[in-house]
Symmetry: C2
Subunit: 177 residues, 2 copies
DNA sequence: GGGAGGTGCTTCGAATTCGAAGCAAACATC
DNA sequence: GATGTTTGCTTCGAATTCGAAGCACCTCCC
């Protein structure tokens, strides 16, 4: 993953190439360690933590769709994980007053407690693996850059606007995304 | 995932917090799009692409362990994917002359062709989602930072040095990792 | 050179993942 | 206010994932 055969043709500049790979691998490693920590400290998967964290950040309750948009994840996977979290007593699910179709997910006290329980370790891992080798200025710049990138990506069609198959199979011909 | 309840206590500075979340989400989104592109353009999963790319980058052949170190992935998952790739004719597996236990994985011409086939689209996605909103200076800095972070993480005990259970259950007491 | 322990890889079962299909409520258009 | 379409969520089956356990080879050390 260092000196690709690929920098031929009109592709990414070498600088972009190595940036891309470094980014990918570093984040992959980080995620892996985080996964371990969350499992060890609080018996949570990363997704479960993200769900709980999103809820906490949002003030306690969100619909499934809002949750799906905050987490890079499939709808069905979310349903599955929400089921586990509910069974574990960390969230509750109830009908929405506004929209009969929606499900309102609410974090419980136990859920909040669990978040607080794993947070120190979580922070410690991020501190040790990610921020340790970075200066304040690095962090600032990195944050600024990634925020820009994230917002840019969010502007692209979001995952939850996924292609619900066209009405008829007839209009298939004009398919070109 | 924006204004956590969590910046309380001696944790990460707010700046670190938002940097961390932006990084995580942006890369998640990127991975998701890449996944789609690879599947569409060349019927490959990200892992499969990484395997092929690692092989190509390494000059054509690697052992399973070397491969595992280059990819953030479990050993058994690698075996599984290697099986699929072999069945698809994109790699071959053979014994190592040096070490009878090792398996030498070699990329085939078809494998190389497949990499070249998906590469333009891959590059296009990275270009559009990641690099589009970044200046040259951003890319340089980002690359420099992430390389530093990656190397720092690599220095931590690598994934493949995974804990082969202790010799006896007796020395369990002193477990604290 | 023989045994103990370490290493490289695969197999196994259980858990998680995804997309497609299904169901019901909401919305639009007439 | 009916009918067709869209939207929110779940269920389903198939594919992928992981860690633990297993097998075979290698290495160290007496």
């Amino acid at each position: 993953m260092t000196k690709p055969v690929f920098d031929r043709g009109p592709g990414l500049a070498p600088e972009q190439m190595s940036t891309y790979f470094a980014l990918t691998e570093a984040v992959g490693l980080l995620q892996h360690h985080v996964e371990q920590q969350l499992r060890t400290d609080g018996d949570l998967s990363t997704v479960q933590f993200q769900i709980l964290a999103s809820l906490a950040a949002a003030g306690g309750r969100l619909t499934m769709t809002e949750l799906a948009d905050g987490v890079v994840y499939s709808r069905s996977g979310l349903t599955y994980q929400a089921g586990l979290l509910e069974k574990a007593g960390l969230i509750t699910r109830g009908p929405s007053p506004d929209d009969e179709r929606s499900i309102l997910v609410t974090i419980t006290d136990a859920g909040l407690a669990r978040v607080r329980q794993v947070l120190p370790g979580h922070v410690e891992v991020a501190e040790r693996l990610l921020f340790d080798p970075l200066s304040e200025s690095d962090v600032a710049r990195l944050g600024e850059i990634m925020t820009r990138v994230r917002d840019h990506m969010r502007a692209q069609p979001p995952r939850s606007a996924a292609p619900r198959k066209r009405r008829s199979a007839a209009s298939e011909a004009a398919k070109g995304d």
